[in-house]
Symmetry: C2
Subunit: 253 residues, 2 copies
């Protein structure tokens, strides 16, 4: 896949990035040969890239196992990202306020292609690890946050997304019927919020409201997670919709 008829494209750099992206939640430390198989690059290419990334402080290397791991530099990049995105600075104090006042898990989600990505998370319960750390990507159509953002778009865009964007069956109860997802988005447009249940995690209720820009389109949403053991959807809306909308209203999209 050495692509492009593009004389500005530096394939060596792309290969190096490929090494970085070989790491994910189920590949936390990789040997040279692991990297070869995961990236599809030549052994010697991997050798040189990994070597360089190590020297440059982007990869940690365990001297015993000789396996590579992400370094702290990866967190530093996140730090730079946070400063670069103005929505973050606007949202963070509001989320802290909400978390403090309501004691519930609250997240900031942004649209990233056909996925959402969680950019801020303030967990208030012990919950699954993946649900507590930033940077997680989920198919937009599967999530309340994704649907509520889509609901601010034109009918055509919604239809296009519902037809083509990925849907992932995460739990037995995950909604995979695209027509039903479209209904959910239509409802969200009416209501100004979206609520889901058991979509990514069983017994988890998600309530989300959009952060609209001046054009009325939302690239950001705030989402809260509530355990469905104690309460049902109606009660969640009853109790948390108002504070949630207060929160989103204070954020500059």
């Amino acid at each position: 896949m050495e692509k492009k008829q593009d004389n500005l494209y530096v394939s060596t750099l792309a290969r190096g990035l490929k090494i970085l992206r070989a790491f994910d939640e189920s590949h936390v430390s990789l040997s040279l040969t692991d990297l070869v198989s995961r990236t599809g690059l030549e052994k010697s290419a991997v050798q040189r890239m990994a070597h360089t990334l190590h020297l440059e402080g982007m990869l940690e290397r365990d001297p015993n196992t000789r396996r590579f791991r992400p370094s702290h530099a990866w967190l530093q990049l996140a730090y730079a990202y946070y400063w670069s995105d103005p929505v973050i600075a606007s949202a963070l104090p509001k989320l802290i306020e909400f978390s403090h006042a309501n004691g519930e898990t609250i997240n900031l989600a942004q649209l990233s292609g056909d996925h959402i990505i969680y950019s801020l998370r303030l967990p208030n319960h012990r919950t699954h690890f993946a649900s507590s750390i930033v940077g997680r990507r989920l198919p937009a159509l599967n999530t309340a946050a994704g649907r509520v953002m889509l609901s601010t778009r034109s009918d055509d865009e919604i239809a296009e997304a519902c037809a083509n964007w990925p849907v992932l069956q995460q739990t037995p109860k995950t909604l995979t019927d695209r027509a039903e997802i479209a209904n959910s988005i239509r409802a969200a447009r009416q209501d100004g919020f979206c609520i889901t249940r058991d979509q990514m995690l069983l017994n988890e209720i998600s309530l989300s409201a959009p952060v609209k820009g001046t054009d009325g389109i939302a690239h950001t949403a705030v989402q809260i997670s509530i355990s469905a053991i104690a309460v049902n959807e109606d009660e969640v809306v009853e109790k948390f919709l108002r504070p949630l909308l207060d929160t989103t209203a204070g954020i500059l999209g």
Copy 2:
């Protein structure tokens, strides 16, 4: 600075990384010429690297201003980092517990060379933006967390660090006298904790305890921040040391 007599070193990749690292808290969006001046690379090199990084989804490009910004991919890398570091998974539930029980800002800090880096942060008050987001690096000697980690090392290492590691005068009251810093570290070794005040921020008290590995050395520490307006250091120790030590005790270094 095209360095190395190293035939495995891929300088093109290093140049690309240099572009990424040109972004930080005071350089949130950079034009081509900005990148040239910040990296010291040739104009055409920057052109090709930025172009490639954009195509690979590592840089966002504003079509109007033609400036580059970090992309969501930078958060995804943080996500991979979190999974790769076992301390994180062990610490996160404990920090959440503490935050929930005590309602105070709590952070996980790790030693990264001669700096500490905050890898988890659970802010519970409105506080300065930089104090709320992960990935921030601070000189280890300036911080309670850095000192308490150092205090688990040998006398020689402590002496070496106190002599050579960087110290940054962040507030008028920041301790810059290296002998006094050494005293602070000695005290931390005795006490099993370190408390500071007004070091990075005025009217901020920092209390930190180490997370020791099986060898007794700490590469990680937990730190809490308390406003010094309402309470003094003794009261902070009185009130929070016990729960803090309970927290660190539950974390596998």
